[in-house]
Amino acid sequence: MNNQPLVLIVDDETQIRRLLTITLEASGYWVLAATNGQEGLVLAAQHKPALIILDLGLPDVSGQETLKRLREWSQAPVIILSVQNDEKGKVAALDAGADDYVTKPFNTDELLARMRVALRRSTGKDDESAFQAKNLVIDFSSRRVTVSGKEIKLSKTEYELLRLLTRHAGKVLTHGQILREVWGPNHENDTHYLRVYVAHLREKIEVDPQNPELILTDLGVGYRFSA
């Protein structure tokens, strides 16, 4: 019983709380629920949950503010519940330390998948020397990238970009996070760099670059490497 991860839900909607509790408990999680940000912070401090699901639109303190306060002392993964056409809110939350998001109305399978990735990342190690997804294999020690066994040539920037995405496979990375990491803090807003390089990478590693299966776009938010 004790090795079941504890999940904290912070949402003001009773129905959503109830439904999430049922679904998550059915999937083998312990569930705690809070109705507002203040209560959420108290519960998180008392019970140290393994993962937190946080609604961005809370009645008392905003979701963003709750996230900020939480991140001052906790590194537990946080998944944001957001609405459509609030890409700015999602990006702000991700940049403030949230791990991922789902858009309402969400599919439970999708939420569970995101939770698994977030939990694995928070417990697992990420200094593995190789990465494999579908027919793509990356050997980080020798910087070799092969697709279906055939070695492909990547420029330095392309390689850095691919490495960053694969290291965080399954998790969304915002445009700003990628640009800061690969091009440096001065290029945080040069989204066009990213578009051009992602297009190059897709040409080289995707089976059908027009319908990418490895590097996925989260429109208006960022990219996620297929888990």
Binding site: T23, S27, N85, P105, S155, R195, V196, T217, G220
Partner: protein, 891 residues
């Protein structure tokens, strides 16, 4: 130590502004020649033909070929505007038709002879003013010009050739021009002349030999070459400033030229302009107004000098001071002037010795750190005698008559007193009369009174009487003393009085400005404020006043305010509109539309024009400089206040709009939350059931239906929210770079299984670079267009999405091979809640109106049509932003 290589921010800003102004304005290209006959028109036509061949819209506005065959042949094939024919006192004149050119609005127009003087009754007296208006309208102009017609060179040409140049163009009009020098060696020109290839007016034929001497031509050629070189030099300097190359920056020099009513001032001004040009310095022309009023003739000359300085690019300052040296130095220190230019006096002025030395000596002694250039006044000095600063010798017989009468009366009185007192005492009566009259008249009449009374005293009362002999030394001393005392006392009194008058005038000016400011500040609303302006301006300048305010109407950009004391005729309204649009004074006494009755002055507040103030003076003389200054101060004040009113309105508007937007957003967010939460719950239940497993196929199908219904309802909620956002006018775009393919994939994903039974084909060129647009709006456009296909065509229909770039547009198309659009007005489809007459169930009539609104919010457009082969085609055109360059990288 400051870093000297750092670009001066002001200079950079000026360079940027110049660049910007250049982009919006038309470009002026001048084909410059040393004199007639070098082939300027020919060169201009050749250049125009090249532009024409390159596909530019070139039109000949006005061409003077003087019947030369080669030139005529070159002009053939280029479209030309008809000339405007004017019948002036029985003579047919043909002129350049400015209005036709502005209506035709070509990209490039050819207007020959930049310095030409237009026929009377034209809009502008000079053709260069026509050209400036063309440039303002964004039309490029090619023109021709001879070196002698450039204001700052006219005098030099006059000296070389001995010909007086009357048609000149101000240097400022050429500041942003590009020059092409049409050069011809003098010998060749003379050969052309001999061959009869050069057109010369008959009256000039006699001067031909004189004018076209090789010596003359060489000098003119050098002038033209030097002018072009200097101009190119300035361009290079400007470019260096723009690009921060380690280079000579502005010299930091500031010149001041002292302007007076003397005819030599004009050449002094030109000299200073040349020096300023060489030093890349700014310069100021200062006029120190003496206490005495000027004669009309002097005033006109002074106005010409100040206008010349303004045209040549000087800042004009006028100040009042009885002491010219003091006034000049005061302005020089206030303006941080580094060099002063004054004229070399033409002769000795004994009277200046009384004032502590000549103007020149005192200026040099008191100038301290400032350099002083003393320039020989050239030109017409000899022909016109120097004019004294006051009207010392100018005889006003009225005043002198009165003085004579007064002195005669005093003499009569003295004849009566003579019996009772000694003749020395009588001198005091005369003295009293002289001093008292000095309170009322100027220095000249006082001098006259002193002299006359001294002579009369000598003649009638000093023994021996009835002749001018003076016998005793004592009497001689008395006579001299009387004369000197009367003169000095009289002059002093007159001077004090003049100072008082000047002081009073200054005070009046200050008071009227103060009154205006106070009344404007106290006006509770705009109507009151405008009434104050009209009333105060009318009172202060003794003129009928009208105020015109801007309107939204393009045809009549200003409309007269009802409280005006002068009702503008249609003609005057047109002039006021012109002044408003061109931000220049127009009407009587100006260079723009001078045929009007009144003076129309734009109220300039920064880059805006707040309106036009129109004045009709009771007399026709120009305003004296001090009044003109005051009027300028009034204009600035009024413009400022009007602009403040406008800003206050705009601020209120902005605050209201922000408040309504905030409330709208709050409401939308709450509605959105309320509608979506149950949807989220349904969706969650459905997936939860599925995850619980152990469902039979029928149950699975039912869950799929539930999911699909949820998705559809969610999309409808989204559309309704978008619609209300669009209607409230609070649609904000958030443009960023995107891969178009990602947008299409997101839209298809958004539709879920909606297009599963259709044959969808995506045609995006592989080389299409990232595009800059609003991802959400574009995705919604595509969702709605695809959704539209799903509603209006049967399953199995082919749906094609294609993208291409077309000049500066990104063109997106959604085509199908269904039944096509219903007959009727296609554009109506994009109206809200407009549904096709036989539209099947499933649409709400919102989708296409959103497509239109979202395309337009991004600066794009949408259209729909039936394809020739059947089926409908929707086309979206969005602005295409060029991809900025990416940093190079080694593989």
């Amino acid at each position: 130590m400051p870093d000297d290589t750092r670009p001066n921010p002001d200079a950079l800003l000026a360079a940027l502004k110049r660049d910007e102004a250049r982009r919006q304005r038309g470009r002026l290209k001048v084909f410059l020649g040393m004199c007639a006959g070098v082939g300027k028109t020919y060169a201009m036509l050749e250049a125009a033909r090249r532009e024409f061949a390159a596909g530019r819209d070139v039109v000949i506005g006005y061409l003077e070929t003087h019947g030369r065959k080669e030139t005529d042949a070159l002009a053939e094939g280029l479209p030309a505007l008809p000339r405007r024919l004017i019948d002036h006192r029985g003579i047919q004149l043909s002129e350049f038709d400015l209005d036709a050119a502005l209506t035709r609005k070509p990209r490039l127009i050819l207007v020959d002879e930049f310095a030409h003087t237009n026929a009377p009754e034209s809009r502008h007296p000079k053709r260069y003013q026509d050209v400036l208006e063309l440039l303002d309208a964004g039309i490029d102009v090619f023109t021709t010009l001879n070196i002698q017609h450039i204001e700052s060179r006219a005098e030099a040409v006059g000296q070389i050739t001995g010909v007086t140049i009357s048609e000149t163009v101000p240097d400022t009009t050429l500041a942003a021009a590009e020059f092409e020098l049409v050069d011809l060696p003098p010998e060749e020109l003379r050969a052309r002349l001999a061959a009869g290839k050069v057109y010369l007016p008959e009256r000039a034929a006699t001067a031909q030999d004189n004018f076209f001497r090789v010596g003359n031509l060489s000098a003119l050629r050098e002038l033209a070459l030097r002018f072009t070189a200097e101009h190119v030099g300035q361009d290079v300097l400007a470019a260096r400033q723009a690009h921060g190359a380690g280079a000579p920056w502005k010299s930091g020099q500031r010149l001041l030229v002292a302007v007076s009513t003397s005819p030599t001032s004009a050449s002094l001004i030109r000299w200073t302009r040349r020096l300023a040009g060489e030093l890349h310095a700014t310069w100021t022309a200062v006029y120190v107004e003496p206490l005495k009023p000027l004669s009309n003739e002097d005033q006109a000359r002074l106005a010409r000098h100040l206008a010349l300085a303004r045209e040549l690019g000087a800042e004009i300052i006028t100040t009042t001071d009885d002491d010219a040296v003091h006034g000049i130095l005061r302005i020089a220190r206030e303006q941080n002037v580094t060099q002063i230019v004054i004229g070399k006096p033409a002769g000795w002025r004994v009277i200046e010795l009384f004032h502590g030395g000549s103007v020149l000596n005192r200026l040099i002694n008191e100038s301290g750190q400032i350099d002083v250039h003393v320039v020989r006044a050239e030109g017409k000095t000899i022909s016109t005698p120097p004019v004294r600063p006051d009207n010392f010798w100018k005889i006003d017989f009225n005043v002198y008559g009165w003085i004579t009468v007064v002195v005669a009366l005093v003499t009569g009185l003295n004849a009566l007193l003579d019996q009772y007192v000694g003749f020395y005492a009588l001198a005091l009566t005369y003295l009293l009369a002289v001093v008292v009259s000095a309170l009322f008249v100027g220095r000249g009449p006082v001098f006259y009174a002193a002299t006359l009374s001294a002579l009369l005293w000598d003649f009638f009362f000093l023994p021996p009487r009835y002749n001018f002999y003076i016998t005793s030394f004592q009497d001689g001393m008395m006579f001299t003393m009387y004369f000197v005392v009367a003169l000095v006392l009289g002059q002093l009194t007159a001077r004090i009085r003049a100072q008082q008058i000047a002081e009073r005038l200054r005070e009046q000016r200050a008071t009227s400005l103060y009154l205006l400011t106070r009344e404007l500040a106290e006006s509770p609303d705009l109507a009151q404020l405008l009434a104050v302006v009209v009333q105060q301006v009318g009172k202060t300048f003794g003129a009928e006043t009208a105020l015109s305010l801007p309107t939204e109407n393009e045809v009549a950009p200003v409309t007269p305010y009802f409280a005006s004391t002068w009702t503008l005729s249609d003609k005057e309204q047109t002039i006021a509109a012109w002044a408003f649009q061109h931000r220049q004074a127009a009407g009587r006494g100006t260079d723009n539309l001078p045929a009007g009755d009144g003076l129309h002055l734009p109220l300039l507040a920064g880059t805006r024009t707040a309106g036009v103030l129109s004045l009709r003076f009771r007399d026709n003389s120009p305003l004296p400089p001090a009044q003109r200054d005051l009027l300028d101060a009034f204009l600035r004040q009024v413009a400022l206040v009007l602009d403040r009113e406008r800003l206050r309105d705009a601020e209120t508007q902005a605050r209201l709009s922000a408040e309504s937007e905030r409330m709208g957003t709050t409401l939308l967010n709450s509605v959105s939350h309320e509608l979506r939460t149950p949807l989220a719950a349904i969706s969650s239940v459905s997936s939860g059931l599925r995850a619980a497993g152990e469902l039979n196929p029928a149950q699975r199908m039912l869950l799929t239906e539930l999911d699909e219904a949820t998705r559809r309802l969610n999309r409808l909620v989204q559309n309704l929210l978008d619609l209300s956002r669009m209607q409230s006018g609070h649609l904000r775009t958030n443009d960023d770079w995107h891969d178009l393919r990602d947008l299409v994939n997101a839209a298809l994903q958004n539709l879920g299984h909606g297009l599963d039974e259709y044959k969808v084909k995506i045609e995006i060129p592989n080389h299409l670079p990232p595009v800059k647009l609003d991802a959400f709006l574009t995705e919604q456009i595509l969702v709605n267009l695809f959704g539209n296909v799903a509603v209006h065509t049967p399953p199995g229909t082919n749906v094609t999405f294609s993208a291409k770039t077309e000049n500066d547009r990104l063109v997106l198309e959604v085509r199908d091979d269904g039944t096509g659009l219903p007959a009727g007005d296609v554009s109506k489809m994009f109206n809200r809640f407009q549904r096709g007459p036989e539209a099947p169930a499933g649409g709400t009539g919102i989708g296409l109106s959103l497509v239109k609104g979202f395309a337009e919010a991004q600066g794009g457009s949408v259209s729909a049509e039936n394809q020739p082969g059947g089926g409908a085609r929707f086309t979206i055109k969005l602005p295409l932003v060029k991809l900025p360059p990416l940093p190079k990288e080694k593989e």
